[in-house]
C-alpha cells in the first residue's frame, strides 16, 4: 500500500505525465476491453428479448386493450421462435365456481398416462420430459413417502404396491403465493394458483416453499418441435414458458374454464380422477367428498389443499 504522491519527473505539479500514469491508462483500457469481451454473451441474450417484453406490466395491471396487444405479441413471438401458429386466450374465472380434484387410490394403476397427457397438453420441454404430475409407487400398508419411488421401471400394477400421483394441490393458503417477492403468483377466485410468466423474476423461493414439489423452473428455454405444440393456449396456463421463470399445474384452466375437463383426467384409463365445482352440491366431486374415505396430503401443515385422495371402501 505504499504509494507516492509525486508524479512525473519527481517534482510536484510540473505538468508532465509519468510512466506510472501511462501504465495505469493502458491497464484500465485493457481491463475495460477484457470486461466487454467477458460479458459479450449478455448481448446475444438481450437480442432475444424485446423492449415490449421488458416493459410489460403485471397481468393485473393490464387493461383489456393492453392484454390484447400482449396476447398478439406472444402469438407472434411463438411463431418466430417455434414456427407454430397458436392462439393464446385469457378466459376469466366463472362466478360461483371453485374447482376441486379427487383421486381414487384404489383404482389408480400407476400407468402414468396422466403425466404424459400433462406433458403434451401443457407444452412442456421435450428433452427433460417434464410434467406437473409425479406418480409414486408406494408400499401397500404404508403412507410413508420415503418408501415411495417415482422412478419405477417395470410393468404396473405390482401386487404389493399402490400408486399415488402428486400434482399441485391448489392450497387454500398457498405458501408459494405468500413468499413470492414480486406478486408474480396468486390465487384466482376459482381456487387455481397461477403464475404470470412475464412477471416472475426466477428467484425460485416459491419452489422452496411448496411442500408438494408442485412447481417447476425453466432451467433452459423449452424445446418443442413445431408440430407437437398444442395451439390452444392460455396466458396463465399452457403457453410456452420463457426461460428462467417458474411454472405450475393450473388444473388446465384454458380447458376447465371453458367447460372441459383437465387433460390428465381425460387420459386416465381407469377412471381414478374426479374433477368438478366444489360449490355445486350436485357435482360428482361433492358426491365423492361426502361418500368416500377422503384424506389430504400433509394435513398438519394447515394449507387446506383442494386436491383430495380417496379409497373405495
Amino acid at each position: 500500500m505504499s504509494s507516492s504522491s509525486t508524479s512525473g519527473c519527481g517534482k510536484e505539479d510540473c505538468g508532465c505525465v509519468s510512466r506510472r500514469t501511462v501504465m495505469k491508462g493502458v491497464g484500465a483500457t485493457l481491463g475495460a476491453a477484457a470486461f466487454a469481451r467477458a460479458i459479450a454473451p449478455l448481448t446475444e441474450w438481450v437480442d432475444t428479448l424485446s423492449v415490449d417484453e421488458f416493459l410489460q406490466r403485471h397481468y393485473k395491471e393490464l387493461s383489456l386493450v393492453d392484454l390484447k396487444v400482449v396476447l398478439r405479441r406472444l402469438e407472434k413471438e411463438t411463431k418466430e421462435q417455434y414456427g407454430a401458429d397458436v392462439t393464446i386466450s385469457d378466459t376469466k374465472p366463472q362466478e360461483g365456481v371453485k374447482f376441486g380434484y379427487a383421486l381414487n387410490l384404489s383404482v389408480c394403476n400407476g400407468c402414468r398416462k396422466c403425466a404424459e397427457a400433462c406433458h403434451l397438453e401443457n407444452n412442456h420441454d421435450r428433452p427433460s420430459n417434464q410434467s406437473y404430475i409425479r406418480v409414486f409407487e408406494m408400499q401397500k400398508g404404508s403412507m410413508d413417502m420415503e418408501q415411495g419411488n417415482a422412478h419405477y421401471d417395470k410393468p404396473v400394477p405390482q401386487p404389493d404396491k399402490f400408486y399415488m400421483p402428486v400434482q399441485c394441490q391448489q392450497c387454500e393458503h398457498p405458501p408459494c403465493v405468500d413468499v413470492c417477492p414480486v406478486e408474480a403468483t396468486w390465487k384466482e377466485p376459482d381456487g387455481i394458483v397461477v403464475v404470470d410468466y412475464n412477471w416472475c423474476i426466477g428467484c425460485r423461493y416459491c419452489e422452496a416453499a411448496c411442500p408438494y414439489h408442485a412447481r417447476r423452473f425453466n432451467w433452459t428455454k423449452p424445446v418443442i418441435p413445431k408440430e407437437e405444440i398444442n395451439p390452444n393456449q392460455g396466458y396463465l396456463s399452457n403457453r410456452i414458458r420463457p426461460q428462467g421463470t417458474m411454472e405450475k399445474c393450473t388444473f388446465c384452466l384454458h380447458r376447465t374454464r371453458n367447460g372441459r375437463l383437465p387433460a390428465c383426467l381425460e387420459a386416465c384409463p381407469t377412471g381414478a380422477r374426479v374433477f368438478g365445482n366444489l360449490l355445486d352440491p350436485q357435482s360428482e366431486i361433492r358426491w365423492v367428498l361426502e361418500h368416500k374415505r377422503v384424506f389430504i396430503l400433509k394435513e398438519d401443515l394447515g394449507l387446506k389443499p383442494q386436491f383430495f385422495y380417496f379409497f373405495d371402501s
Binding site: 414480486v182 422452496a208 433452459t220
Partner: protein, 436 residues
C-alpha cells in the same frame, strides 16, 4: 474515522458540499495507486473476476441449466454464499458495539475496518442474489413504485429492504467520517452517532430476516426451527471478527504501522464466546433431531451420516465441525494473544468452517430429501464455482480499494489541504487546519 469528544463548529453548508466531488475523485485516484504487490494482487483478482463475469453472462444467455441445481435442489452455492455473506456483514458490527457502546477508544480508531467490510459483504451478497435470478432483467419488478414488492407478506421483500438499508446506513457513516477527516474537520456526533446505533440494531435484523427466509417454510422441517436465527447470529459473530482480525494484520503490514492490538484482543474475546455458543447450538440441534427421530430427521440423517447410500454432504459437515472445533480450542489457548500463527490459524479455520456450515451444512440439506422425500443430490457445477469465485474476487477488490481510501485519508495522504506534520494513525483529533 475517529470520533472526537467535542464537535467542531458546523461548517457552512455550501462549503461543506462543494468539495465532495473532489473528495470522491481524490479518493478514487489514491485508491488505485500502490506498490508492486498491490498491482499483482489487483491483477489476480481482476482476472478471477473476469472469468466469473464471463461465466455469469453465459449462464444468463443459456439458462440456469448450466448450474447443477434442479427442481429438487432449487437453491445452491449462490444462496449459500449469500447467506454466509449476510452474516459476514452483520459480523462487522462486532467492532461497532465495543467502540460505541462501551467506548473502547482504541477500537474507535479502526472501527471503520469493520464498517467497510459490512459494505463490501452486502454488495457481494446482493450480487449473489442477482446471479441466482432466472430473469435478472426483471429486477425492477422488486422496486416500488414501478414494480410490486410483496411487502410485508414475503420475507424476501423484507430482506430486500433490510439489506439495502444496511448498505445505505454503513455507506453513509463511512462516507461522512472519511469526508470530514478529508476536510480536516472533527465529525459532528449528531450526524453519525444516531446512525451508528441504528446500524447495530440493523445488523441484527439483516441476519434475523435472512434466517426467517428459511425457517418460515413449514414444508421444510430441517429449516423450520426457531434456533435458526440465533444460530445464524452466533456463527456470524465468529466469521465477521475472524475476517476483521486477519484484515487488521494485513493492513498493519501494508501500512507499516503498528496498531490494533487492543481491538484484536477484544475481537478474540468475542469469538471465544460466540464460537462456543455456536457449537452448543449445533449440539442442541443434533440432539433434538436424532433423539426424537422420525421422518422429520431424514435431512439431518442425510447431512451427518448419509441416507440410503447417498452421502454427498457428509464429508462437508464433518470437516466444518472439525474446523470450528479446532478453531475453538486454539482461540481458548492463552498463547493466542502472543503467537500470531495460532491466532491466524484459528481465524482461518473458523472462517472456512462457518462458510461450509452455512452452505453445504444448511442450504443444501434443506432440499435433500425433497418435500416428497425423494433424494436428489447436488454438487455445484464449474459455472457455479466460477461465478462464486468472481464475486468473491470483486468483493475483495472493493474491500481493498475501500481500505486504501480510508488509510489514505486517515494517514493524511489524501486530503484537501496540506497538513504540516503527519499525526500518527491513532491520533484521535486531526491537526488544525486552515478554514475552508
Amino acid at each position: 474515522m475517529s470520533a472526537a469528544p467535542e464537535a467542531s463548529p458546523s461548517p457552512s453548508r455550501p462549503a461543506f458540499w462543494r468539495n465532495f466531488g473532489r473528495f470522491l475523485g481524490n479518493a478514487a485516484l489514491e485508491s488505485l495507486d500502490g506498490g508492486k504487490l498491490f498491482y499483482i494482487w489487483m491483477f489476480c483478482l481482476t482476472a478471477i473476476f473476469l472469468v466469473g463475469a464471463n461465466a455469469w453472462a453465459v449462464q444468463v444467455r443459456d439458462g440456469m441449466a448450466l448450474s447443477n441445481m434442479s427442481d429438487h435442489v432449487s437453491w445452491g452455492l449462490y444462496i449459500a454464499n449469500f447467506t454466509f455473506l449476510v452474516g459476514l456483514a452483520a459480523g462487522g458490527v462486532m467492532m461497532v458495539i465495543p467502540a460505541y457502546l462501551y467506548h473502547d477508544e482504541e477500537m474507535h480508531d479502526i472501527v471503520i475496518i469493520g464498517e467497510l467490510l459490512a459494505i463490501a459483504a452486502i454488495i457481494m451478497s446482493l450480487m449473489f442474489v442477482i446471479c441466482d435470478l432466472g430473469r435478472p432483467d426483471r429486477f425492477w419488478h422488486l422496486l416500488p413504485p414501478f414494480g410490486r414488492l410483496h411487502f410485508p407478506v414475503s420475507m424476501l421483500s423484507w430482506d430486500v429492504i433490510v439489506l439495502n438499508g444496511y448498505l445505505f446506513i454503513n455507506a453513509y457513516i463511512c462516507a461522512y467520517l472519511l469526508y470530514m477527516r478529508y476536510l480536516g474537520q472533527t465529525p459532528d456526533p449528531r450526524w453519525y452517532v444516531p446512525f451508528v446505533f441504528l446500524s447495530i440494531v440493523w445488523a441484527i435484523s439483516i441476519h434475523t430476516v435472512t434466517a426467517f427466509l428459511y425457517c418460515g417454510l413449514g414444508g421444510r422441517p430441517f429449516w423450520n426451527t426457531a434456533l435458526l436465527a440465533p444460530r445464524f447470529l452466533a456463527s456470524a459473530f465468529v466469521s465477521g471478527p475472524a475476517f476483521i482480525v486477519l484484515a487488521i494484520q494485513v493492513i498493519r503490514q501494508a501500512v507499516g504501522r503498528h496498531f490494533g492490538d487492543g481491538p484484536i484482543r477484544t475481537l478474540v474475546n468475542i469469538m471465544r464466546i460466540t464460537i462456543l455458543v455456536n457449537l452448543l447450538m449445533v449440539v442442541s440441534e443434533v440432539f433434538t433431531e436424532f433423539y426424537t427421530g422420525g421422518a422429520h430427521t431424514s435431512a439431518a440423517r442425510y447431512l451427518y451420516f448419509g441416507l440410503h447410500g447417498h452421502d454427498e454432504l457428509v464429508w462437508w459437515i464433518w470437516s466444518s465441525i472439525t474446523l470450528v472445533a479446532v478453531a475453538a480450542v486454539l482461540m481458548l489457548l492463552p498463547s493466542v494473544f502472543t503467537k500470531h500463527w495460532i491466532l491466524n490459524t484459528a481465524c482461518i479455520l473458523a472462517f472456512i468452517g462457518i462458510w461450509i456450515e452455512k452452505g453445504m451444512g444448511l442450504i443444501i440439506p434443506g432440499f435433500v430429501p425433497s418435500t416428497l422425500h425423494e433424494i436428489v443430490e447436488y454438487r455445484p457445477s464449474a459455472i457455479e464455482w466460477k461465478i462464486t469465485a468472481g464475486i468473491w474476487a470483486l468483493g475483495l477488490i472493493i474491500y481493498t480499494l475501500f481500505i486504501k481510501i480510508a488509510a489514505g485519508i486517515v494517514l493524511n495522504r489524501t486530503k484537501l489541504h496540506a497538513i504540516p506534520d503527519e499525526p500518527p494513525a491513532s491520533e484521535s483529533s486531526p491537526a488544525p487546519l486552515p478554514t475552508l
